[in-house]
């Protein structure tokens, strides 16, 4: 029992900031459940809303606990000591159940005869944790596709309880596989065979990263290296390397949009813009995280830029990242514009273009600021700054929604553009003021 308590504690405490952020999300979602109970919604609408909220809660818990299990399974005992493994997995189950009971209590009144829906948050948590613990990208994507496929079962005329039975069976299967450790090898095994060769042959790896990212970078790197290396074999290119890969990876985002659009309900007119904009808004996070890893590369040559020359290096860094960011955005935008007629999805291109412009400007303002933070570690500063960025993006969208008719004729638009350019100078000078040691210091 003592070991179980300790395992619970360490699973919960592996990242306090993330934990409290998730607790806040759970509380907000639980409050929404509470509000739902007092709203005069139809049975089906209430059920849909309630289950969605429960599943979201389960998802967040699952991702967090999956991260905790992933951290604890790095140790060799995971592979050789059954007691260690069972203890951690038992702790995982106990916490998941504890967190899932609260949302279920709220949704009881909507469930009616669909009693198996009480397991929705649990299933969601287990599936989400597998997305984190999955062996490789294909494994993770398979789990995602499996969820989508199971959600389509209603089209075959299956009732809610039958669909939930399928979900439960899949959940039990995944839990058993996790316990047996059949599909989830430890970190040591993850870098086995081909992965080992990749680790040694990839010129610039991205530090401590999941094996799937290393594999992904490796293959993309091989594919584009000759093309990119051509005449750009300099420091700027070295900084840009992973971002160039990210630029290519935008194609994958576009494929994801295509698949998602094909499956989802097309009657919702703003659906395509929303999905595209969601991707666009998150690109900066990917760039910032990746760039923080890559900035470590400068350790090996930062001494070549002593004193005042650091400014030149910083300029190179900033321009490289701006360029990488714009490549990503361009790929996604072109993909979206191409996919719209191809998939017969309604798209208001002027709204999309305006959204893109606002996101790009906001992101370019924020990018130097983000670079000043330690992006690798989850910290309150990181969480708040990214929340702030998302809040600004949200406000802009609301504003676009209200003024969609006269976007280019209102002075606020131009004021916004000028404001962004001005603010970029502020954040850029903040970046320049950071000591080089601070920028490249990264655990």
């Amino acid at each position: 029992m003592r070991m179980l308590k300790q395992s619970i504690w360490y699973l919960l405490s592996h990242s306090w900031v993330t934990f409290f952020s998730i607790v806040m999300v759970v509380l907000v979602l639980s409050f929404m459940q509470f509000v739902l109970a007092y709203n005069d919604l139809s049975q089906s609408k209430g059920l849909q809303a309630s289950v969605s909220i429960n599943a979201s809660i389960g998802f967040f818990i699952g991702v967090y606990l999956g991260g905790g299990v992933l951290a604890l399974k790095q140790f060799y005992l995971w592979k050789i000591n059954q007691r260690y493994r069972s203890n951690i997995l038992l702790a995982f189950v106990v916490i998941t159940l504890a967190f899932c009971i609260l949302p279920v209590a709220f949704s009881v009144q909507h469930i009616g005869e669909n009693y198996l829906l009480i397991f929705a948050p649990l299933c969601s948590a287990i599936f989400a944790s597998q997305m984190v613990l999955g062996k490789n990208l294909i494994h993770k994507m398979t789990i995602g596709v499996l969820v989508f496929a199971m959600l389509q079962l209603d089209k075959l005329g299956l009732d809610v309880n039958s669909i939930m039975s399928v979900f439960l069976l899949a959940t039990i299967g995944l839990s058993y596989a996790m316990f047996k450790d059949q599909f989830y090898p430890s970190a040591k095994q993850k870098i086995d065979n081909k992965m080992d060769t990749q680790l040694t042959s990839t010129a610039i790896t991205t530090g401590v990263k999941p094996a799937m990212v290393i594999a992904f970078n490796h293959y993309i790197g091989i594919a584009v290296s000759k093309w990119v290396m051509g005449k750009k074999n300099d420091i700027g290119w070295s900084l840009l390397l992973p971002q160039t890969k990210l630029g290519i990876s935008s194609i994958i985002y576009i494929i994801a949009i295509g698949i998602f659009s094909a499956i989802a309900d097309k009657s919702e007119t703003s659906f395509f813009e929303t999905i595209t904009v969601m991707f666009l808004a998150t690109v900066i996070l990917a760039i910032a995280v990746e760039s923080r890893q890559m900035i470590r590369q400068t350790r090996s040559f930062a001494h070549v830029f002593p004193g005042e020359k650091h400014r030149a290096l910083k300029t190179k860094m900033l321009l490289s990242l701006d360029k990488a960011y714009l490549i990503n955005i361009a790929f996604i935008l072109l993909g979206a514009l191409g996919l719209s007629p191809l998939l017969s999805l309604p798209l208001d291109s002027s709204v999309l273009l305006y959204s893109v412009l606002s996101i790009v400007l906001t992101a370019l303002v924020a990018l130097p600021g983000f670079l000043c933070l330690m992006w690798i570690n989850v910290s309150l500063a990181n969480v708040f700054s990214y929340c702030g960025y998302l809040a600004i993006v949200y406000i802009i969208f609301r504003w676009i929604g209200v003024h969609s008719e006269q976007l280019w004729s209102t002075p606020t638009t131009y004021l916004f553009i000028v404001g962004c350019i001005g603010l970029r100078f502020v954040t850029q000078s903040l970046f320049y003021r950071q000591p080089m040691e601070q920028l490249i210091k990264n655990k």
Partner: protein
């Protein structure tokens, strides 16, 4: 002769086209302290991780206490200590949390010994694992492995990040531990002088197999650099068949004895057909000679 605690037969492991371990045979007896040597990339870590069941191998058999890993009982698994080359993980825990938590999974965990080592080796119990230096993190993992009081201890370059003072302390703890509970220890390192102090056997991994595996004392009694004098260059003959790195010179030849001989080195020299000048080799010199032979 003791029954082997680890028995490896025909173990092979390839990384794509690269054969790292090739039909490796090795028996390790209870109570031995074995220094595993080999060049960078020779496959030392792969071998140690295969022994620890952390890395799958392509073919061959590996048993611990006569049992393959698959059926090795939990009671035996709990008697194995391991320190990996890269000591990562548990960054959010404090030093004491780390030791107490992991100690709970081992029935033979010696809390007093762990606390004592931690204090003697200057680790702050309240310090977060993330804030430890590379050397301190390694010390922490070594303390964890030693406090199990393991019957089998596998250490993959355990002293790589330690200063000379810490290395000495660690090695003396290792000797005390093996004396106390007759542990079997396999450790890889590139600091050959350390190995001489603590190991009773030395194993050299070359071309995917254990090419040299001898008792340190037996080896040290034989390994030597030979200078054979004559008034003309000398070809290698049957008498000097045990010598390697044979180099002809205008006035004789030079060579090296790298394996223990049936008769003593003194009688070997005494009975030599030509005058031989002998320079004894340290293990480090021996390692360099053997490595050069296989380069």
């Amino acid at each position: 002769m003791n029954s082997p605690i680890i028995s490896i037969n025909n173990l092979s492991k390839n990384y794509d086209q690269l054969a790292v371990l090739s039909e490796l045979d090795w028996d390790i007896e209870q109570g031995d302290i074995i220094a595993l040597l080999g060049k960078n990339g020779a496959g030392k870590s792969t071998l140690l991780e295969a022994i620890m069941n952390l890395r799958e191998f392509d073919s061959g058999e590996l048993t611990l206490w006569g049992t393959p890993w698959k059926t090795l009982p939990q009671s035996k698994r709990e008697k194995i200590g391991f320190v990996a080359q890269d000591t990562v993980g548990f960054e959010w825990m404090r030093v004491n949390d780390f030791l107490n938590y992991l100690g709970g999974f081992f029935p033979t965990w010696d809390q007093n010994y762990s606390d004592n080592l931690r204090d003697r080796w200057g680790l702050d119990p309240k310090k977060k694992v993330a804030d430890l230096s590379g050397g301190q993190a390694q010390i922490l993992h070594v303390i964890q492995a030693l406090s199990i009081k393991p019957e089998l201890l596998i250490l993959d370059e355990p002293v790589a990040h330690l200063d000379p003072n810490m290395r000495r302390q660690f090695l003396s703890e290792l000797i005390e531990l093996t004396c106390e509970i007759n542990s079997t220890v396999i450790f890889s390192s590139h600091i050959v002088s350390d190995l001489e102090r603590v190991a009773n056997k030395v194993a050299l991994l070359i071309d995917g197999s254990i090419d040299y595996y001898y008792e340190v004392d037996q080896l040290k009694a034989s390994i030597a650099h030979l200078k054979i004098s004559a008034d003309h260059p000398i070809e290698k003959n049957d008498y000097f068949s045990e010598a390697i790195n044979w180099r002809k010179h205008a006035n004789g030849a030079t060579a090296t004895i790298t394996r223990p001989m049936i008769k003593s080195l003194d009688s070997y020299i005494k009975n030599a057909p030509l005058p031989v000048e002998v320079t004894r080799l340290s293990l480090e010199d021996w390692y360099l000679e053997v490595s050069n032979e296989n380069a």
